[in-house]
Symmetry: C2
Subunit: 435 residues, 2 copies
Amino acid sequence: MALIVQKFGGSSVADAESIKRVAKRIVDTRRAGHDVVVAVSAMGDTTDELLDLAGQVAPVPAPRELDMLLSSGERISMALLAMAIHSMGYEARSFTGSQAGMITTADHGSARIVDVTPVRLREALDDGAIVIVAGFQGFNRDTRDITTLGRGGSDTTAVALAAALDADVCEIYSDVDGIFTADPRVVPLARKLERISAEEMLELAANGAKVLYIRAVEYARRHGVLIHARSTFTSNDGTYVLGEGMTDPRQNSEGAEMSDAIGMEEPVVAGVAIDRSQAKVAVVGVPDVPGSAAAIFTLVARTGANIDMIVQNAQSAQPGRTDISFTLPKQEAVEVVKVLAAEQESIGFENLVHDDQVGKLSVVGAGMRTHSGVSVTLFEALSKNGINIDMISTSEIRISVIVGENDLDEAARAVHTAYGLDGDVEATVYAGTGR
Amino acid sequence: MALIVQKFGGSSVADAESIKRVAKRIVDTRRAGHDVVVAVSAMGDTTDELLDLAGQVAPVPAPRELDMLLSSGERISMALLAMAIHSMGYEARSFTGSQAGMITTADHGSARIVDVTPVRLREALDDGAIVIVAGFQGFNRDTRDITTLGRGGSDTTAVALAAALDADVCEIYSDVDGIFTADPRVVPLARKLERISAEEMLELAANGAKVLYIRAVEYARRHGVLIHARSTFTSNDGTYVLGEGMTDPRQNSEGAEMSDAIGMEEPVVAGVAIDRSQAKVAVVGVPDVPGSAAAIFTLVARTGANIDMIVQNAQSAQPGRTDISFTLPKQEAVEVVKVLAAEQESIGFENLVHDDQVGKLSVVGAGMRTHSGVSVTLFEALSKNGINIDMISTSEIRISVIVGENDLDEAARAVHTAYGLDGDVEATVYAGTGR
């Protein structure tokens, strides 16, 4: 008998029918003999609707009150889910983030989990009940206020519960079958991965891949939680996300069939991620002296912009000058360009280029540590397809390139093929792919 | 500087515009120098919509979960209201029933308030903040669960807060100007009362008058809370509901103009209430021996029916027999008739009459204690209009009659006139009169 944590997102509980479907899923897990703890998001677009209502009564909603408002969404869905489970004959009890012992910082709208004390949850489990917890929220001990966790909050709630309860697995449900080697809507021959390492998952998520939020994967990695990303619509296995030292749980079953390459070498590249949300800013002809980069990025930091890639070429066209390029979210670029342009004289650069028709393509694989020439495959694939590379940036297990936005999808497919990631059949894509 | 508690119902906060209007009302009160504590209901039809959702996922929703669900409605409205007040430049803090120290029994859906410990509310008031409290809900110390209070819950929340905080007044807002001598939609010449005694209010509310809930008036009476029933749409005074020993606060203002009959005798009759929700059941030809009534009402009690009037005539047509009639809510009559019919032989009655085309008219007035002949005015008015009286029942300050349902409205108007209650102008009735 295992303790399983399950997370269901907004689109999984969008209406009464969906709630009943999810309830049945949960009951099936319980019926198999496991203890079940569920983290659930608000129904469908509830959070956005509440945000909209808030905007109608106040242009800048007070943070404490906004969190009080938004946390109602999860309260509604958790209670309905518990009711549905009850009507199927199983005991279920719902708990708010506060009741579940989810202790957070006081940062309204972006609180971090600092402790989890799931006393009431353990009591409920001991009573044989299925436990439903409101995702996305917690409680601050100092202010005694409800806080919400920001983006990826419900995934993080689930992982935090799994860690605190020492669960055997944390199942994160969405309407896709698992983690794919690429976005199947862009790369039809993308394959579902049987397993992926947490560090590879982090790199993919940080570079455009959806399905799992970075913070949840990071929390899982830090606390040794096994994540299983799977689909609400099938009972097939999804993708296991393995932290350091973890093994695929299916490897332990005697005589269990293993798909993929167990016992063989891990593939060099796990997957390809694309990101169209970035823009590029190039500061051209910067004086190549100490302090130039610092001056530029001090200004940028004041705008609060979230810089992604930074590339400085060793040499510019002119001696004594260099070019510094960086990428950042499109919506933050205009402000940054304005701020830099105002300081052109003091920094001394010659020109400022702002290009928001770019896309970022990333290739991720732990195998890059031990294999050489991985980047060559990427560059050759792009070259063969006549796709120009604008910027290159790498980490230990990732290579990212900036290309023209219009080339991005084609580049993804070409690179996916070049790395031998293509599957035999086109992946099934459900309409309205969401969480 | 006073401490004022204000209650706003669902239709007062039905949408963003209404919420902003109410926020302005609250801010105006604060600006006048008073401390303000607000109890608020869920927006518009939210509670009904949540109930409907619950019914879609479970035929018989688990009570604990249903209360968790329903309490979200007030959470949403209180947070939005606090936000609106903030954006008008005033500090406001919202609190759930639990956070406000509203301690209740564990009866989900019909919890009673057993204690109020408003520690956090006092702290907020000391900080100069306007306090918003979610109506209709509380917290049970033993189960540590959220409970809802049932019908009239938000009015009761407001009165309980006023009692616990020793407020100067509890203002209950609706979209009517106050308590009227009769329902202005039925009796156009009904007048708004300047004041009414709590015991008269209780009798009117118990016998069909809307605007204030019995339990809230009763709680106010028991705890010495002054209620002021007034309109969200005007700043005119409404109706003060005075408990024993209380005086109209306006009497204390030096040189304040007093309307109505201050210093003169109180009117004999305060108002007329009508109730079309009742049906009549007559058990005809019951053996006139000890135990007959007990047998009948023991059976009735088992169905849980809520009996209103009971009348037994001294004599029936036949010697040794009597007739016992009673009224009860229409929807409960069928079950009761079935149960009685099944025991016809053991009780020994001759016939059972079930009439659901009846209406109850009540005349209420503390003056009945000291004046004789009050009933004569009622009976003559009805007689003059050719309206037959089916049952008569009285209390110290109330006379009620059962008449045909089709006669009820005309009877109300005739009786209202006969007691000299008519005003000079037709009362303004706002569309969609609600709370």
